[in-house]
Symmetry: C2
Subunit: 222 residues, 2 copies
């Protein structure tokens, strides 16, 4: 069909400025990247709590809520949408599927940011190019890349979901850090050393950054 | 890989109750459905403005912002992600692609609702089963189906994007209402008669419903 190129932006939308005034802060995307077990989800959720307490509207996108819905695998889609649909649209863990996984998360995080929220994403997102493509969809300053820099040995020691053990045993293939690469950000907005500090201290480092950049006010909103 | 079934919910998330207290209202999905040109987008954007003025946090998902990102067609993806990727993941307008289009929009609207926002979606969403599958992912009362009931003759007369003309000329195939069916909701939460009233009056009908259901307070929040 010819629709693909017929898309035009609706002219009557509420402007970002009006949304920012309504929320009392700007929208943005805080993109946590790092190895499995590095602490991304824990820091993101801790930050979400701290932001809530300050009256800042935020949300967390992580593997847990995204893999249940938006980026469901074939197994989940088969039950609700049938075999052919699951085959066509279910996301697995191959290179191209991971790329699409990150692309969709970036698109949704962008929608949240445009809605005026502070969107926190917590995904390994191991490939530099995938992260850079997400960054390229947003305006300057909107995409805040936070590298959760935890040594592999520490992540493997923690192994909260037992995935490293399975990867070492060969039960999981293409596991980031074991038999698949992790490409650290070249110029992230922030680096968090999650082997040396607790989640609360790390979350406060992000808050300090948001205040310094004028995204959230220095004084709590409530 | 074995990840697909290893997904578990993170235990430290901010609860819906805390988010509702923070926002001053509950989250929900207002799902506008109806023919092309029925007025879905206009009413949704008018409602978005009215909600903003009341201090209610909302967002609009419609073809314009979703087709530019999350549900991009092959044409857009080819430029950024290459041919094979575009072929595999680009969404077109076949039956199965439309089903996936609606499934993703439902998943994202659900994430917005869980984040405490009033998410307004404006898509033809012609198939009853697709809408019912979205409804089934949410808690009772969270999915509010709004049937924008505008006669085909009126929509075709308006024809804001000239699509009916193209469909009648055979330039667009599978166009809802012309050579593809529209399945009206059997038991929508609301029906709006958009041929008889203006967008402002219709948006106020939705606001009255939200107040009556206890989703937003009767008094403006600011």
């Amino acid at each position: 069909m010819a629709h693909d190129t017929n898309v035009t932006w609706h002219e009557h939308q509420v402007s970002p400025e009006v949304r920012a005034r309504l929320h009392g802060h700007k929208g943005c995307v805080i993109w946590f990247t790092g190895l499995s077990g590095s602490g991304k989800s824990t820091v993101a959720n801790t930050l979400d709590h701290l932001l809530s307490h300050r009256g800042v509207h935020s949300t967390v996108l992580d593997g847990d809520n995204v893999r249940h819905g938006l980026n469901a695998g074939p197994g989940m889609l088969r039950e609700t949408h049938g075999e052919a649909f699951a085959e066509r649209f279910g996301l697995g863990f191959t290179a191209i599927d991971r790329e699409e996984n990150i692309r969709r998360i970036g698109a949704v995080a962008h929608l949240f940011s445009q809605a005026g929220l502070v969107a926190l994403t917590a995904f390994i997102s191991p490939y530099r190019q995938d992260r850079d493509l997400v960054r390229a969809t947003m305006r300057a300053g909107e995409f805040i890349e936070v590298y959760v820099d935890t040594p592999l040995a520490v992540c493997e020691e923690r192994d909260p979901k037992g995935l490293y053990k399975k990867a070492r045993a060969g039960e999981i293939k293409h596991f980031t850090g074991i038999d698949d690469p992790y490409e650290a950000p070249v110029a992230p907005e922030l680096v968090l050393y999650a082997a040396e500090k607790d989640p609360d201290a790390l979350a406060h480092e992000v808050i300090d950054y948001l205040i310094a950049e004028g995204i959230i006010p220095a004084a709590p909103l409530r």
